[in-house]
Amino acid sequence: MNKLQILIDEILYYEELDNGLKVYIHPKKGFVDYHATLQVELGGNALSYQYGDESFNLPAGTAHFLEHVYFENDGVNLSDEFSKYNADINASTSREVTKYYFSAQENFGMILNRFLEHFSSVNISNKTIEKERKIIEKEIMMYDDNLYTKVNERLLKQMYNDERIWIDIAGTVKTVKSIDKKILERTVNHFYQPKNMVLVITGPFDPYDIIDLIKKSPFNRMNSTSNLPEINHSILGKSKRHIYEINPNQNVNYLMLGVKLDLSIFNHLEVSQKRLIIIMFFEYFFSESSEYYKTLKEENLINYMYGTHIKIMDDYAYFSISSESVKPKVLKNKLIDMIKNLGSIDKKIFIASIRSRVGHFISYYDSAYSINYTVADFTKKKIDISNYINNVENISFKDVELTRNSIKMDEIYSVIYARN
């Protein structure tokens, strides 16, 4: 195993198995919890993809549906089984990945083995599919009332024609109805291959015992094919940049504004540096402790529902701001004006921000859970975890200033949902 020194007393062990599964093991002596995460590179964005020479389409919500049905195998429910060992198992689906994870405090080796055995071969039954379909339909309806979700989806629809960027991860009641066993099994064959997965394990163990266990498990006997699914996004948007709609049932006005970013200017940087300078740049200007925030607040244009969001993927990136507002049109114009005329950055704040990132990174190592989450997240984002502090400390002020040039000024979009 490769040993990666993270902090003076924290070591991450890494090995890629022959079948392509990437395994990260982080021993955490003196703590009581064990955590394991199996992360599959299949998310809500997998509506169409290339696999070898062929193109495939999936109904929206397929990855999420699989996450629901994957707990049952030949009539055995993994959640019920794990509860007998006092282990909690759960799963989640994001736009990019599906995660299965559990925590335990005793019999970890046995439970991990069972976990790996389960995910090495799952037989999806029609009975489980029908049961979970009903539950997922209820889940979808729950989010129908959320104004933020509606406005966010509408904004992204304007910014990107590619529905893989914005469609609801759970799909719609209609698409969920169209998912069947054949679709699920084909998706498993294409995406649930060891080389398309990452396994992260943290807890009070000897790392060599854990890698031995994994190598002896049925998971190690799984094979990967020569193909991996490929998803490339189209970043074109609609020509109509600004939407204003009135909904008499709303109690508030809500604005969301988004701007696309050009990532090509950051090609000389490591992923964590690229991500951090973009985040630092927009935090500097638009976080809740920024001068701009203060101005917007003083002019009574925003309230405490104000929030910002930055999405940075391999092939697209955007920054968005949202808030309830009594004057949403004025707010929109003010924000556009601010983005087009950003001031200079105070170097002192840049230095403080670097120190803050270092402190936050160290804080991840205060629990087996947060280490597990961070390692899985960093692998998803392709961040070099072993050199993180070094990379952060080597970010130059000039690089942060570079972000200014990444803003596509002609691609600013807004959506206002106004009350009557």
Binding site: L7, N86, Q105, N303, E324, A352
Partner: protein, 427 residues
């Protein structure tokens, strides 16, 4: 774990030494007897201290200071145990042995907290009108947002209904008293906090007591005698109902939100509390609970369903969302589950699973820096002693089925609250 208590300059200081964490936390707790009329001010004063400080001038300067302390995290909130209210300010910061820096971060952290608490912006000895206007405005905005977010609105209205609009549920903002908040009333609460409340400091992490004794000695002024909180009740009383009330509220929603409020007699018994916490787990506290396995997994009526026990208000709330057509069936099934538990129709294996789950929960909480700190603060509020994990586990382990049945029989349905679509009126 034993809290190491000391009095320094009239302030009770509690050390919780644990070496395995890379951070330390300091928590300043100002304890007082809860009062519905000043509850808004109690909440607002913390926000005001953070955002209207004469030393840091603006919130960006305050955040800059925190960032320079390697991303120290400031968190302030109000919580209560019955009528005992705590204004909590805590700061988490990194242990300097992980940094290439000679700065004494502990000393800097205490100085920061001192500035935060003692240097709000004032005008003619009062907190400023501008700051007051801002925090009041935010409370009104919060009320408006609550009415837009349907899930929050439903819960908010349910809590009002179940408590008969009584004051002692301590939900912020309390609309009734919001228009009486002034910079004078805020200043009075702030002065009470500084001079009358019982201040306790808790410090957790890899600590050097002697160093901390000296820093606290240097940082704080001598504290005069605080009010006694010995007689403050740790559980609320409430007006019980003869018959359950059923309330239906209509709104522009796509799914029905249902709350069932079960009351139980007010108790301060530690044993009753342990039994009720376990009973709540069995009923709806986790993924193997009765409610989850029957109503979601077997009947597939809901995506989520849970029960939540609120000791402060002697209230167990069951909440779920579902289609209008399934409401009556789900409510009847919930009642049936409670009825079966009252009759002892559940298995020892289910009790064991719930005990294991709860034990794991406490072990996990006591394994995190902030979890261990909060468990110790709550334990100290209860019994002036530190949190004892072994004792807690022992206590959970010995709860019997008979005790659970007796406790279930003491539960009585107080409120059924339906928050449903406007057109979902049965014909």
């Amino acid at each position: 774990m034993k809290l190491k208590k000391k009095i320094i300059k009239g302030i009770e200081v509690n050390y919780i030494p644990v070496q395995k964490y890379k951070h330390m936390m300091i928590a300043l707790n100002f304890f007082s007897e809860a009062n519905a009329k000043t509850f808004n001010e109690r909440n607002m004063v913390l926000d005001l201290l953070e955002n209207h400080n004469s030393k840091f001038n603006t919130s960006d300067q305050l955040n800059l200071h925190l960032d320079m302390l390697y991303g120290a995290r400031l968190k302030s909130f109000v919580f209560n145990k019955g009528d005992l209210l705590a204004n909590n300010i805590n700061l988490k910061f990194v242990n300097k042995k992980y940094l290439n820096d000679d700065e004494n971060l502990i000393e800097s952290a205490f100085l920061f907290l001192k500035d935060l608490i003692y240097k709000p912006k004032t005008y003619k000895h009062l907190l400023t009108q501008k700051a007051t206007d801002e925090v009041v405005q935010e409370a009104y905005e919060l009320l408006q947002t609550l009415s837009q977010d349907k899930a929050s609105k439903a819960y908010f209205h349910y809590m009002k209904s179940v408590s008969n609009n009584e004051d002692n549920t301590f939900i912020f903002p309390n609309e009734e008293y919001l228009n009486s908040v002034t910079n004078r009333t805020l200043t009075d609460v702030y002065q009470d906090m500084l001079h009358k409340d019982l201040l306790k400091i808790y410090i957790i992490g890899d600590i050097n007591e002697l160093e901390l004794d000296n820093i606290i000695e240097k940082t704080f002024n001598a504290r005069l005698e605080s009010v006694s909180i010995d007689d403050v009740s740790l559980s609320h009383s409430y007006h019980s109902r003869e018959e359950p009330q059923e309330i239906i509220e209509y709104d522009d929603v796509s799914i029905s939100r249902i709350f069932l409020g079960y009351r139980l007699p007010v108790t301060t018994s530690k044993r009753d509390l342990e039994v009720m916490i376990l009973l709540n787990i069995i009923i709806g506290g986790y993924s193997q609970s009765k409610l989850f396995t029957v109503i979601r997994e077997e009947m597939q009526l809901v995506y989520y369903i849970y029960s939540m026990y609120d000791h402060n208000n002697s209230l167990m709330t069951i909440n779920f969302e579902l289609e209008h057509k399934d409401e009556d069936l789900a409510i009847a099934s919930v009642k049936n589950i409670i009825s079966e538990i009252r009759s002892g129709l559940f298995f020892d294996a289910e009790i064991e699973l719930a005990k294991n789950y709860l034990t794991k929960y406490y072990k996990s909480s006591a394994d995190s820096l902030s979890g261990l700190l909060q468990l110790n603060i709550l334990s100290d509020m209860d019994s002036e002693e530190g949190f004892n994990l072994e004792e807690k586990i022992q206590s959970i382990t010995t709860v019997s089925k008979d005790e659970l049945v007796v406790m279930a029989k003491r539960l009585f349905l107080d409120t059924i609250f339906r928050f449903i679509k406007k057109d979902d009126v049965d014909e």
